[in-house]
């Protein structure tokens, strides 16, 4: 039994109302069920579903399946995406900034793992729109600096309001991941070797210490004012390191906090490789850049995921074309894909480059996972987002056709059940 279609106008009214709710930091929650009918849903976690319907209630996917076999509540609003394709929202694991005024580069080498990108977050409506336009429903804004640079903040786009945007509008999780950087230099090598050794020692001490006093141990750090959203990582280290700056690094070792490590070059990987090999529990996702293809073996041996751009490179000494993503996918390394330039205002062409990867022999699945589930797993938010599954947040992209076919357009971006961008009404 198919529900009666209703007009979109009513939906927009709800969205506007709910956008205000988002400002308060509350989870988006539509009181009214929503059903989206599409020609094909690419669930990522499972097989594609033909003639699918996605049912959304209170900002979550409550059902997804073939239209013929999936129950849709009578009262649901319906988006009849005739001929459209649905995918989960894209997730940016390492966005540098949001908009031109939100530079987060802190400069120089520092060692302040307790520095928070959230404190420097300065979103703009233009930045939010760029995110949404590219299909990003979550972006992990990192602290771009060397050493143990600071902690990232997870944000999401929302529909434009008639007032200046505030950090609280986009904020999802204040202290999501640890941002790190490394370039080949005696100083940085020493910093890394010594810091990781300290963390190792701390963990050994912690393991050998008798248990009882943990109940009275204070929280590792003061909680942020916002109530913790659902897609925050589970818990933090229950016992803080002696140096508070070490606590987030301990969390990365414990698998309680994701780590994002930017490496300045392939040579930097070689320099850091022996240090990282001593710490098998330390598994940050690595960003390497254009030269990533040179160190596939090392990254594979480290067993870490890689965050890379879909671009192809020509080997400087042979003019042979290289598809670094293909090298990594073939080697069995988890690859998260990000736009060529990590600044939000330069995301144009990203879908085209993804389509190019498929043309160059990377599997469709690897490419689609690379922008959805893999980054979600890197960020530890895969239970909340990253695929079209019952129970996950209703972050859905509607495409005019196959998202990996050149020419397909992103026609609608839905975050938590709310449309934040609609191509039809875009100015």
């Amino acid at each position: 039994m198919r529900p009666r279609p209703r007009t979109f106008r009513r939906l927009y009214a709800i969205v506007s109302a709910l956008a205000l709710a988002a400002v308060a930091g509350a989870q988006d929650a539509s009181p009214h069920p929503l059903a989206i009918r599409v020609k094909r849903a690419l669930t990522i976690s499972g097989d594609p579903i033909e003639d699918a319907v996605i049912v959304i209630e209170n900002g979550r996917i409550t059902a997804i399946g073939a239209q013929a076999s999936t129950d849709v509540p009578e009262e649901a609003d319906v988006i009849d995406g005739d001929g459209l394709w649905a995918t989960p929202g894209f997730i940016h694991p390492a966005a540098l900034a949001m908009g031109p005024s939100a530079a987060l580069e802190l400069g120089g080498r520092n060692n302040s793992a307790d520095r928070l990108a959230a404190d420097d977050l300065a979103p703009t409506w233009a930045g939010v729109k760029t995110l949404a336009k590219t299909g990003y429903t979550r972006a992990n804004v990192i602290v771009a600096s060397g050493g143990f640079a600071g902690q990232s903040v997870l944000i999401k786009p929302l529909k434009k309001l008639d007032r200046p945007i505030r950090p609280a509008d986009v904020l999802v999780t204040r202290e999501l991941g640890l941002c790190m950087g490394f370039e080949a230099h005696t100083t940085t090598k020493t910093l890394w070797r010594e810091t990781l050794a300290k963390v190792k020692k701390h963990r050994e001490d912690r393991a050998s210490a008798a248990r009882p006093r943990s109940e009275s141990a204070p929280a590792s750090r003061p909680e942020s004012a916002e109530s913790k959203p659902a897609d925050a990582p589970a818990t933090r280290a229950s016992e803080p390191a002696q140096d508070p700056k070490l606590t987030p690094i301990v969390d990365v070792f414990d698998g309680k906090m994701p780590g994002i490590l930017a490496l300045s070059s392939a040579a930097a990987v070689l320099h850091l490789f022996p240090i990282l090999q001593e710490h098998p529990d330390f598994k940050p996702a690595v960003m390497i850049g254009d030269e990533a293809w040179r160190v596939v073996d090392q990254v594979k041996k480290l067993g870490v995921p890689v965050i890379m751009q879909p671009n192809r490179v020509n080997r400087p000494d042979t003019s042979v074309e290289i598809v670094p993503v293909r090298d990594y996918v073939d080697a069995g390394v988890a690859v998260a894909l990000v736009p060529e330039v990590s600044f939000a205002q330069q995301y144009e062409g990203f879908p085209f480059h993804l389509a190019e990867l498929v043309r160059k022999g990377v599997s469709r699945d690897a490419v689609l996972r690379g922008v959805t589930l893999t980054p979600a797993e890197i960020l530890g938010i895969q239970k909340e987002v990253g695929s079209l599954e019952k129970g996950k947040a209703a972050d859905v992209l509607l495409w005019s056709g196959d998202p990996l076919a050149p020419g397909s357009e992103l026609v609608r971006v839905i975050v938590g059940g709310n449309t934040v961008l609609d191509a039809k009404e875009a100015p």
Partner: protein, 486 residues
């Protein structure tokens, strides 16, 4: 007592020395025989059909997916033989006579045997060098930028920590047959050590470092008398400290207890130079400058490596009596090389094409460096590191022997840098840094076709776009494509 004294010097070589990393290469990443030479390969030697694995270095990385997958499967096969035999080549050992139709046998990263009748293990990989010239890799006695960084280390910093083994400059140096280089050391305070000696291990950091710091880079300018005076005072202290150390070790050797002598770091460094443990580089071109350096060397028993030495041919006897070796750039004209302003543009040039020949006759060790220590592609073509063999060949025109000219960019350079236990000649026990040239190494027409560092192929002319478009069959005489078209 002499032995105890040697041990004392080793003790002085405190931990600051850069220790080369694990030199053992992956046994399965060795080069293999080149297909075009199959007809001249000895029938007795079984050939293996499998391609080398891709991580031999990016130069052999396949560009097709199917190949890369085939090689991924190859990983599960048993490891390749640690032996590599370079056969049928004209072998320029440098340390000894040229061997025709000889074999260089390599095990992992070391040369194990060189000669005409070498027993090659049955499973050895074979690199056919028929009609090729096989020589040790060139040693750039001064280089700049080939380790992929322009970083000048200070204090505890090490250039090895910033090296980029994927640097294109390193690959270009390899394309000229240069496998080792000595970089840095400028702007080091007087009496302190600096610089870096390493190998062009393209694609890996393993075995890249040979020594850091490389040595002492001394200033002894004729125009700065106070600096000269201070240097001589420090050297006097070093002479005294050296005597005290000798006495101390004599006491220890005799079984008596004694208090170890102390000195500041510059003094200790000078003692290390006096003991021949580290080279001491110093600039000098005119006869006046060279006379001052000879005096310094004789006064303090201080071995010096004089860089430049334009007018050395005028005073070979004096230089031979002093402990002086020379690094010269045979094509360097004297303009702008002197600290005597009046001779900058006028006066006798002092330059002679026979400089190297006279040094050879006088028994003074000499090495050749290119006019500029860079790898350059513009403006000064022919005068940079890429043509270091031509610089060496130029000395032959002035009367130097061809053997000495080849030594000047290999063994002599290694001896001056005090790394000849590792590199500089094709001898058993030395590092497998080997170049296959299509013609004589010093022929201006020759190309390095295959370059091995630590037994691993790091450059192949045919696979790198620098020179692979130049296809001339030099093996059948002088004719090349260009020649035939004429």
């Amino acid at each position: 007592v002499t032995r105890a004294w040697k041990i004392a010097v080793l003790v002085l070589a405190f931990a600051a020395d850069f220790q080369a990393q694990d030199p053992t290469p992956a046994p399965d990443s060795q080069p293999e025989s080149r297909p075009e030479s199959s007809e001249s390969s000895p029938a007795s030697r079984p050939r293996r059909g499998r391609r080398p694995r891709s991580e031999t270095g990016p130069t052999t990385r396949p560009d097709s997916r199917a190949e890369s997958r085939a090689e991924a499967r190859a990983e599960s096969k048993p490891a390749e033989s640690p032996f590599l035999a370079i056969v049928n080549g004209t072998i320029h050992t440098v340390s000894g006579p040229v061997i025709r139709q000889g074999t260089v046998l390599v095990k992992n990263d070391k040369i194990v045997q060189v000669g005409r009748n070498v027993q090659v293990p049955a499973d050895a990989r074979v690199l056919d060098a028929s009609n090729k010239h096989v020589g040790p890799g060139f040693v750039a006695v001064r280089s700049f930028g080939t380790f992929g960084t322009s970083f000048t280390p200070r204090g505890e910093e090490k250039m090895a920590d910033a090296a980029n083994p994927f640097s294109q400059t390193m690959l270009m140096a390899l394309s000229s047959g240069i496998t080792s280089g000595c970089e840095g050391g400028t702007f080091v305070p007087q009496g302190q050590l600096g610089g870096f000696i390493g190998k062009h291990t393209y694609g890996t950091l393993d075995g890249l470092g040979i020594r850091e710091p490389a040595g002492m880079f001394l200033q002894y300018s004729a125009g700065d008398m106070s600096q000269r005076q201070q240097t001589r005072e420090t050297l006097q202290k070093a002479v005294e400290h050296r005597a005290k150390l000798k006495a101390w070790y004599a006491e220890l050797a005799a079984g008596r207890t004694a208090k170890a002598p102390t000195a500041d770091e510059a003094v200790k460094n000078f003692v290390r130079v006096m003991e021949g443990e580290l080279p001491c580089f110093i600039a000098g071109n005119t006869a006046t400058e060279l006379e001052g350096l000879a005096e310094l060397s004789l006064d303090f028993d201080l071995p010096l490596v004089v860089v430049g030495a334009t007018e050395a041919w005028t005073m070979t006897g004096r230089l031979a009596r002093a402990k002086i070796s020379v690094i010269l750039s045979p094509r360097q004209r004297p303009q702008g090389i002197t600290n005597e302003p009046t001779r900058f543009y006028e006066g006798p040039s002092g330059w002679s094409i026979e400089n190297a020949a006279k040094l050879e006759g006088g028994g003074i060790p000499w090495a050749v460096q290119s006019l500029t220590p860079f790898v350059g592609t513009g403006g000064i073509a022919g005068r940079d590191l890429l043509q270091v063999n031509m610089d060496a060949a130029f000395t032959v025109r002035g009367g130097a022997s061809e053997d000495a000219a080849l030594r000047a960019v290999t063994l002599s350079a290694a001896e001056i840098l005090k790394i000849s236990d590792r590199v500089g000649s094709l001898d058993a026990g030395k590092d497998a840094d080997i170049v296959l040239f299509d013609l004589e190494p010093l022929d201006y027409r020759s190309f390095a076709e295959v370059v091995l560092v630590n037994g691993k192929t790091v450059y192949e002319k045919d696979k790198v776009s620098f020179f692979n478009h130049i296809q001339t069959d030099r093996s059948k005489g002088l004719k090349g494509r260009w020649w035939n078209e004429r």
